[in-house]
Amino acid sequence: MADAHADVSKHVRVYWIVFGALIVGTTLTVVVANIDLGHTTNLVLALMIAAAKGTLVAAIFMHLKWERSASVWISLGLCAVLFTVLMTLPVLTVNDYPPGVKHDRTGSWDMLPATTVVEHEGGH
């Protein structure tokens, strides 16, 4: 961060811009969530806005935009790859069943009690 010394004051302007962008982003998230665009579209939009906000925080506030250290980037790159693995492979795996596997709500059974089990009842 040797170069950061000189242009710290220039950063300040960027910080305020990012601050504005984050507030706009938050508002946008809320607005978009309250418009029904279909489940998938809403989901994708919300995640995209969150990702954009997250990128701004990481790039500007956390100075990644100015980070030149290969050690940091390699560590974060590895982390990003493994994060992707962690987010995708388990959910892919639990959705790859051999044919005929029953994994709906009733699971092991054909039917479940109609009433909720949360009501307390004495005895066993």
Partner: protein, 598 residues
């Protein structure tokens, strides 16, 4: 930071709450050796039950009753006979203690802490206080784990894998005891402490290796042991958090009544949707735990083996008096191995109802990961070629590591292919396989490492005769213990059986079980040589020079034992790590820090 220290440190600051990597390394080493021995004692008790099911345990039964009290004995070993609950608890705690409290702290905490900074010429670890925090987290985790033997219901007994729903429904806290005081809950709390310790340690290791290498020590001049520690630290850093998350989720299931791992329609012992006397909502997925658990636990296997390979590589290079063969191939294989170990985990879950495409994916990655292992082993064996092999005590252990790891690695193949895994999954074959990797593999390497670096730590050498006796008996007994397990496994005997003679295939191979048990007890007896040698040598061993093995790596240019700050003057490195038998030189080793031969 360490800048605050003064010349005169009190006893506590110097030996107990020390920030010196060498003291912390020794603390880790002693603590972990104690845990290793404790975990071994647990399995020696288990071996009695396996060999002679239902027979009262001679001597130990009465001894434990004296030691722990009649009430304890009544609950866990009535009449000297082990109860199935206690058997399961011993099994689960043996696994946990050996892996998380024994081998990993020894390899990473002890050898890594002591040797790695010396090998890169650093005065200390990058964050000495975090280093200390890491040790004390580990110690706290260990104490929590051990204390679980004393709560009613005993220590965690759902296997070291703690698969829910079993682990979620097991061991409800006894009436009148706080909710955290049940074996499985304490296990989870202890694991969280151990994971924190590992995370602190791994950050420290990576930063130290990246930042504190001395001048001239480029990454490809690092001793292979440092590379192994480097990759291992990344594994610990990135693989452990998911288990921490899983541990927190299971803790919530046990303490806060959530059902992350509990599906709807659960009927435990005839009670619908009741867990630990509490109604649950259900809707969770038991396989979620297995994914998060194995996301850690497969890389953990490499955490157990990579530093051991590092130790073996150091000893082999030193005792063949020639450079390691294919140093770069070794490094690349290690890095590749580390990365691949993150995407093979579901081969532990082939039997959970997995479709063809995902099982084919994981089988393929598993086969791919076997290639770098083969490369590493081959490189180490070829390193012997054209050498001048000195059969020193550490070298004996390092040499024995090679065939033992070969057996362990090769027997992984039938388990990695889904079809051959069907009959072998969860049998003794699996136990044989990973014990060959970890016990005759890693533990032999650990012994080798202790014999090798003992002169650096104490300035004295361990006795060779006792060392050789220790080696011969350990080596034989290890094989007597674990070789029969392959036959048991092929015969179809499931693991974790309290009494395998219930099954006809188990009864048929009971003779092998007895052989294995006797091997285990003999193995225990053989360690007497080590104990005597170890403690006697600390005070009475032969005094040796700073570089008794005539080694090239930097740690041998420091005084033995190294003072605070390690090196009188900061060393400078001029060459690679294994410059042995350089032609035209009078001596057969050329230290990394030496400017010229003189």
């Amino acid at each position: 930071m360490s800048g605050e220290h003064h010349k005169e440190l009190g006893f506590f600051r110097k030996y107990v709450f020390s920030v010196d990597h060498k003291v912390i390394g020794i603390q880790y080493g002693i603590t972990a050796l104690c845990f290793l021995f404790f975990g071994f004692c647990l399995i020696m008790m288990i071996r009695w039950q396996l060999a002679y099911p239902g027979e009262p345990m001679p001597l130990i039964g009465g001894l434990l009753e004296r030691l722990m009290g009649a009430k304890w004995a009544e609950e866990f070993m009535p009449g000297g006979r082990m109860t199935p609950d206690f058997y399961n608890a011993l099994g689960a705690m043996h696994g946990t203690i050996m892996i998380f409290l024994g081998v990993v702290p020894l390899l990473v905490g002890a050898f890594g802490n002591y040797v790695m900074p010396l090998q890169i010429g650093a005065p200390d670890m990058a964050f000495p206080k975090i280093n200390m925090a890491s040790y004390w987290c580990f110690a706290a985790g260990g104490v929590i784990m051990l204390s679980s033997f004393l709560v009613p219901g005993g220590a965690a007994n759902s296997g070291w894998t703690s698969y829910p729903p079993l682990s979620a429904i097991a061991q409800p806290p006894a009436a009148g005891w706080p909710i955290l005081f049940s074996g499985q809950t304490l296990w989870l709390v202890g694991m969280v402490a151990l994971i924190t310790s590992s995370l602190l340690g791994s950050v420290n290791f990576i930063v130290t290796i990246i930042q504190l290498r001395v001048k001239g020590l480029t990454m490809f001049r690092l001793p292979f042991f440092v590379w192994a520690q480097f990759v291992t630290s990344f594994l610990l850093l990135l693989a452990f958090p998911p288990l921490e998350a899983a541990g927190v989720l299971q803790l919530m299931d046990r303490v806060a009544g959530t059902s992350f791992f509990l599906p709807e329609g659960l009927v435990v012992s005839g009670q619908v949707a009741m867990v630990q006397g509490r109604e649950i909502a259900g809707g969770g997925n038991p396989l979620l735990w297995q994914h998060l658990f194995w996301f850690l636990a497969h890389p953990e296997v490499y955490v157990l083996i990579l530093p051991a390979m590092g130790i073996v590589a150091e000893i082999i290079a030193n005792n063949t008096r020639k450079p390691l063969w294919g140093y770069r191939a070794l490094v690349y294989s290690t890095v590749f191995l580390g990365f691949m170990s993150f995407i093979v985990w579901a081969h532990h879950m082939f039997m959970t109802g997995m479709g063809t495409s995902i099982s084919a994916f994981f089988a393929t990655t598993t086969m791919i990961i076997s290639i770098p292992s083969v490369i590493i082993l081959t490189a180490l064996i070829i390193s012997l070629y054209n050498g001048a092999i000195r059969f020193t005590t550490p070298m004996l252990f390092a040499l024995a590591f090679l065939p033992m790891f070969a057996i362990g690695g090769l027997t992984g193949l039938p388990l990695g292919l889904p079809v051959s895994d069907i009959p072998l999954h969860d049998t003794y074959y699996v136990i044989g396989h990973f014990h060959y990797v970890v016990a005759p593999g890693t533990i032999l390497a650990i012994f080798g490492g202790i014999y090798y670096w003992f002169p650096k730590i104490t300035g004295r050498k361990m006795n060779d005769t006792l060392g050789r006796l220790h080696f011969v008996f350990t080596f034989i007994c290890m094989n007597v213990v674990f070789m029969p397990m392959f036959f048991q496994g092929l015969a179809g005997v499931s693991r974790r059986l309290f009494d395998q003679t219930q099954y006809s295939w188990g009864a048929a191979v009971q003779g092998w079980t007895i052989t294995s048990s006797w091997g285990a007890w003999m193995l225990g007896v053989a360690q007497i040589f080590f104990f005597i040698n170890f403690f006697w040598s600390i005070w009475g061993g032969k005094k040796v020079s700073n570089n008794p093995w005539e080694a090239t790596t930097i740690e041998w240019s420091a005084p033995s034992p190294p003072p605070h700050g390690n090196f009188a003057t900061e060393p400078v490195v001029y060459r690679g790590p294994y410059e042995y038998s350089v032609p035209g030189m009078s001596k057969d080793f050329f230290p990394q820090t030496a400017v010229t031969e003189a």
